[in-house]
Every structure is written in structure tokens, then in C-alpha cells.
């Protein structure tokens, strides 16, 4: 099955894979394909190369949804939007959304432990990506969302990140850590008897009592936010598990990225995510029958190079022969690795697509469209 058929009923595409494999370009090309299909597509990306922003007609990609000008592509009947993940702002915005009151919001934003935690989570863009995703999915302005995930080594990090806050902050934890501070509570002493009291004191000793105080305050304030977090987490997980969500694993013909891709495929299968597929990017293609550069190019080179240094034509032709031989060796290695990646492709109905390396950088919508043609399997064979 090709990608086009595969994505027909998809509303969310999650692109996963290691860094440097063309994941952002793949995400952008899928978004553009959506616009060409008449859909309203949004590409959520992380730290794209400036040239990719430029290729979408943007000076710089910001943290707000920006519509891409598709005037150069009259056949595009839909819309293409893009935005970049601003992980710093997202967490504070999230707190503001789930806080029951402005006072609770301000108290939490000022807390020591919250600030450190927000920094820690902001560092993990995967968490922010899933949060932002939820916002965009609920927005309703788009019918195709494409998420370019951060290059994580570990699929689990990405899929489990929304659960990290929720996992920790259930009521039992809240009461365990805040009980010692509720002096008026008669049962507090009994609750913290034995092992619990001992462990609590131990944590105070190891981490410092000041930290535990900050931490308890953080939890007390945060307890009001717990329901909001849990609901959000459930909604994000439902979104990721939905039939209308597809995971596209992207890799390049390198040993390490293929290994990461295989790992992702296995994880997705293990988690029972029903829809997934594999794209192998940047495959060198060689079609020339032999490495006889002189027979193919010698005459043209001698004619066009007649006015240059005497040996230039011969040297260049020899060089092209060697370059071509390297390209052939590379191409063979690429195909071997692609086959290895394919062997692990997810499930029986998953799609598989190879995309050749494209000369030059993807620097405008036209070259993005070329990537798309290869990706969706309707590129004309050269």
C-alpha cells in the first residue's frame, strides 16, 4: 500500500526517527501533500533548518500557527500551516490552562520546585510536543496534523512522556508527601508511622529539608491541578491510539538510524499502535551500466574543455569515474540497509517507501513537492 492511500483517513501523522534522517523534510512534504489533496494541514516542527522555514516561504518560523503562501502552487486547493515548538512557553501556558484560579496559577509559577521541573520538562521537547499536539487537535482549524517529533533515541520517552506528571501526581503521592505538614491533622502522625516516617526523614536528610519543604508546597498547590493534568493525559493518549493516527518511522540508510527505526517499529507493535509505516530516505540511486566515464563523457569533456589547462578534461573524467564508483558502492550499501529496515516494518499492512537522495538542499516549495512525489510514490521514473 502506498503512503497516499494509507493517509487517506488519517488525521494525525506522527513522524518518528533519529536525528539527521530528513524527518522534518518528510513531515513538511506530508503537510504539503495534504494541502495538494485539498486538506487543511498543519506541520508542527522542532528547530527546523532555516532553509526549510524559507522553503515554506517563512523568514523565520515562530511559535504561532502561520499559514504558508501556496500561490505558486495553484493545484493546491487546501491550506498549509506550520508552527515551531516553543517548549519554554508551553509549560507555563499549560499551567495557566489547568489552574483552577489565577491565585493557584501564580503560586505555582513562583514555586522553586515548579521552576526547576518546568525547566527539566521544557528540556524534554517530547513532552511539550504532545501537549501542543493536544491543543492543535482540539482547535478544529486543521484536518491533518503532522507532528515532527524531536530526535529521541527512545520511543518510550516520546510515547510515555505525557504520563510522567500524571504518574507521579496521584492522590496517594500528594497525601504521602504533604501529610507531615498538616499539623492540625490528627491522623497525620498515625499515617506516617513506621517505614513511611523513616523514609520521609531519610529523604529530608539526603535532599535537604529545605528542598522537601519546597516540594511539599509545590504538591499542595499542584493538587488542585491534578484533575486537569489527568484529563489532558487521557485525551493525548486517546489521540495517539486513535485509528485516525498514523506513525511514520523515518530513517536513512545508516546502520544507527536503521537500528533506531527497527526499535521504533518493535515498540509500536508491542504497544499495539495499529497504524504505522516506514520511510527510508536519502538512498543513493545508480543506474548507469558501467564505470566507463571516458566512453560516456570523454569526448564532450575534451570539446568543452579545449581552452582549459591541457590535462583538465582527462583529470575530471577520471575523477567522475571514481566519484561514480563511490556512488555505486554507496548505493549498494544503501539498498542493503534499506532491506534490513524493511524486514522490520511494522505489521503486515504497514506501508514502506524508499526516497532517493535529492541533489541540493530542499530550499523551496518546488523541491519540497519533488520530495513529496518520491514519498507518495508518483515520481516519474527517470
Amino acid at each position: 500500500m502506498d503512503l497516499s492511500a494509507w493517509l487517506k483517513d488519517t488525521r494525525l501523522v506522527v513522524c518518528v526517527g533519529s536525528g539527521g534522517v530528513g524527518k522534518t523534510t518528510t513531515a513538511a512534504a506530508i503537510g504539503l501533500w495534504g494541502a495538494l489533496q485539498g486538506r487543511r494541514a498543519m506541520v508542527l516542527t522542532i528547530d527546523p533548518a532555516k532553509r526549510l522555514a524559507n522553503s515554506l516561504g517563512l523568514e523565520q518560523m515562530g511559535g504561532e500557527p502561520t499559514q504558508i503562501d501556496l500561490a505558486g502552487l495553484p493545484e493546491a486547493t487546501g491550506e498549509l500551516w506550520a508552527m515551531m515548538l516553543d517548549s519554554r512557553g508551553t509549560f507555563d501556558a499549560l499551567i495557566a490552562q489547568v489552574a483552577p484560579s489565577p491565585e493557584a496559577r501564580d503560586r505555582i509559577l513562583a514555586n522553586h520546585v515548579y521552576r526547576a521541573m518546568a525547566d527539566a520538562f521544557a528540556g524534554s521537547q517530547d513532552y511539550m510536543a504532545t501537549e501542543k499536539l493536544y491543543d492543535l487537535a482540539s482547535d478544529g482549524r486543521w484536518d491533518l496534523l503532522v507532528l515532527d517529533t524531536p530526535p529521541v533515541q527512545n520511543a518510550l520517552d516520546f510515547l510515555e512522556s505525557p504520563g510522567r506528571v500524571v504518574k507521579f501526581l496521584d492522590e496517594r503521592v500528594l497525601s504521602w508527601f504533604t501529610a507531615p505538614y498538616e499539623k492540625e491533622r490528627v491522623w497525620g502522625g498515625a499515617f506516617l508511622a513506621g517505614t513511611s516516617a523513616f523514609l520521609f526523614r531519610l529523604l529530608g536528610y539526603v535532599f535537604g529539608k529545605e528542598f522537601l519543604d519546597d516540594f511539599a508546597e509545590f504538591l499542595q498547590v499542584f493538587s488542585g491541578l491534578y484533575d486537569g493534568f489527568r484529563q489532558r493525559h487521557q485525551a493525548v493518549m486517546e489521540l495517539l491510539d486513535a485509528r485516525s493516527t498514523s506513525f511514520v518511522t523515518v530513517c536513512a540508510p545508516t546502520v544507527s538510524s536503521v537500528e533506531v527505526a527497527r526499535f521504533f517499529q518493535e515498540e509500536l507493535a508491542r504497544r499495539g499502535h495499529p497504524r504505522g509505516g516506514l520511510v527510508v530516505n536519502q538512498i543513493h540511486r545508480v543506474e548507469a551500466a558501467d564505470d566507463d566515464a571516458d566512453g560516456v563523457l570523454g569526448e564532450a569533456a575534451r570539446t568543452l574543455g579545449a581552452d582549459l589547462q591541457p590535462a583538465t578534461a582527462a583529470r575530471l573524467v577520471a575523477r567522475l569515474g571514481r566519484a561514480h564508483a563511490r556512488l555505486r558502492a554507496q548505493s549498494e550499501a544503501d539498498h542493503a540497509l534499506a532491506a534490513r529496515a524493511r524486514a522490520a516494518a511494522h505489521g503486515s499492512g504497514g506501508f514502506y517507501q524508499e526516497v532517493p537522495r535529492i541533489e541540493g538542499e530542499v530550499h523551496d516549495l518546488a523541491s519540497l513537492e519533488v520530495v513529496g512525489q518520491h514519498l507518495f510514490g508518483d515520481a516519474e521514473e527517470a
Partner: protein, 313 residues
């Protein structure tokens, strides 16, 4: 850029944008250190997909395994790293077991900001005490930086107690002039951008004592003459098709690679004050160990370690 000071380092932290080959460089660097008679540990950080195994040819565990003469490898996996840390913090095995048996405390440790980073750094620092040199294959540069930066932010959070003491010790290890970051970059715009960003942050926060080293991996040194370039352009514009065009494409490919290398080396050189070390691509995409051998030989040239000393690889 002179790489010989690496042979005096106690701790080399290898990182780079994902896909640059940093694991291969970490392994090659460790091999070079061992070849020079230094007791060396090659270390990876809680990787769920162990990257060192295929390079060293055996399973790498939390407890260091022997790879070759003077060379061992370890994987700082969870929860073993945590257990070691707890033993250090609270001393008694029984108490550690009580902590690990308690769900609340487990979750607390999972959640405390930066606790995983602290525990990992602490384990690295312990190894530094035991070996002449520790080479760490860190996570990709963004995560690597937050791992090191925890020694700064944690001081505001933990204002007393053994954790704070340990953080202060870790800072001493990082600030030692023989602790250095080794950045692996590729001649690609995005990768160079991220490398420059990491260099700027390292400088701003002055976390490490030694000055950073940058290598440009898969970098073909420029060799086309001006006349050859001219002729390549003329041929490309001549409207040739089929096999001829494919040969020309191969040529343009290498020309573009050369230009990207020159540009990347220039941008990095401006910030570093000296050009980065260029490591040419391995001859055809080979097996991981072949690539590692190639990288070790290339780095060895800059470190005065001849090929024949690299027996084990």
C-alpha cells in the same frame, strides 16, 4: 586543532547532534587512550538500545566488562546506577532496599527535577576515580548539556544535605582542566548550527575545565581545481542525459560535499580560533567496527598514535 591534549584528559565527554557518529568516535577515542597505556573506561549512558555492543563485540553491562588490554566498557543503565547512588548517599544496603521497595519514594526519585542527571553524573565521576581516563558517549548535544548543567541548577534546589555535597564534588570533577567536551559535527548546516549553539552555552556557563574539541566527521578535504570546476559546470549545462548525467551528478555530489566542508570548517573555525579536525568518510559504508577502525586511525594521526598501536580494533 591539536588533539594531543586529549591523551592527558581524565574525562572526555563525547556528544554531537544525533546521527553524527558520536558513539563511533567515543569508542575510537577510548581505543586510542588504551593504546597509549592508559587504563580506560568507555561508558554509555542508559541507552535502551545499546550502541556500544556492536562496536566492542560483546554485551556491555553496568559492571565494566573487559574489551581489550587496559580497555573496559560500561553502560550506566537504570536502575543499577540509581542503586549505586543510593548506596553512596545512605550507606546501608538494607536502607537502600527499603527505599527501592517503596513506591512513593520511587516515584519521588523519578520526579525530582534533575535527579536522573545527578545520579548519572555521579556514576561517571565515580569511574573517573578508578581509571586513568573515562570516555563517555553522552546523549545528543541538547540532552548532554542539561546533564552537565544540572550541577548548576541543583545548587539552588538542594540547599543542604548529602545531595548538595555531592553536587559540589561533581562540579569539581567537571571543572578540572582535564575534563573536556568532544563534539562531533557533520558538514551540514543544521549540525553546524547545533554545534555552535553547544559551544556558546559551554562558554557562557563555564561548566568544563578543558577547552572543547570539535571534529568534522565525513568531511572530504577539497581537491577539485578551478579548471575542473569550470569544466564540470560546462558539462552540466550541456544538456547531457542518461549515463553521462549520472556521472556528472556523482561529480556535482562530491563538489557540493567539498563546498559544505569548507563552509562548515570556516564557521566552526571562527568560533574555535582554529579549524576543526577533518575526518574523511570511511571508504564505502562498512560495518560499524570498520568505521570505528577508520575513525581511530584518523584521530590517531592527530594524536601521534600510529595505526600499528591500535591492535584490538
Amino acid at each position: 586543532m591539536d588533539l594531543t591534549p586529549l591523551l592527558d584528559d581524565r574525562l572526555v565527554l563525547v556528544t554531537g547532534k544525533g546521527g553524527t557518529g558520536k558513539t563511533t568516535f567515543a569508542a575510537a577515542l577510548a581505543a586510542l587512550q588504551a593504546a597509549r597505556g592508559r587504563r580506560t573506561l568507555l561508558c554509555e549512558v542508559d541507552s535502551q538500545r545499546p550502541a556500544l555492543d556492536p562496536l566492542v563485540g560483546r554485551e556491555v553491562t553496568f559492571a565494566p566488562v573487559r574489551v581489550a588490554d587496559r580497555l573496559e566498557a560500561a553502560n550506566l543503565v537504570w536502575p543499577e546506577t540509581l542503586v549505586a547512588w543510593l548506596k553512596r548517599m545512605v550507606g546501608m544496603e538494607r536502607i537502600v532496599r527499603a527505599i527501592l521497595g517503596n513506591d512513593m519514594v520511587q516515584r519521588f526519585l523519578d520526579f525530582v527535577p534533575g535527579s536522573q542527571e545527578l545520579v548519572t553524573l555521579s556514576a561517571i565521576a565515580e569511574h573517573v576515580e578508578r581509571y586513568d581516563c573515562v570516555v563517555v558517549d553522552l546523549p545528543a548535544s541538547g540532552h548532554a548539556f542539561s546533564l552537565l548543567d544540572i550541577t548548576r541548577s541543583a545548587l539552588g534546589l538542594f540547599r543542604a544535605g548529602p545531595v548538595r555535597e555531592r553536587v559540589l564534588q561533581l562540579r569539581t570533577v567537571l571543572e578540572d582542566p582535564r575534563t573536556r567536551m568532544f563534539l562531533v559535527a557533520l558538514p551540514e548546516e543544521m549540525v553546524v548550527n547545533e554545534t555552535l549553539e553547544t559551544l556558546a552555552r559551554l562558554r557562557e556557563h563555564a561548566l568544563l575545565g578543558g577547552s572543547p574539541v570539535v571534529v568534522l566527521n565525513r568531511a572530504i578535504p577539497p581537491s577539485l581545481t578551478d579548471d575542473e570546476r569550470t569544466l564540470l559546470e560546462r558539462l552540466s549545462a550541456a544538456g547531457l542525459v542518461g549515463d553521462a548525467e549520472e556521472f556528472l551528478e556523482a561529480g556535482r555530489w562530491e563538489r557540493a560535499s567539498e563546498e559544505a566542508v569548507a563552509e562548515a570548517a570556516f564557521r566552526l573555525g571562527q568560533v574555535l580560533g582554529v579549524p576543526p579536525v577533518l575526518v574523511p568518510p570511511a571508504p564505502a559504508a562498512g560495518r560499524e567496527r570498520d568505521v570505528m577502525r577508520h575513525v581511530a586511525v584518523q584521530l590517531g594521526r592527530h594524536m601521534g598514535v600510529p595505526r600499528q598501536e591500535l591492535a584490538w580494533i
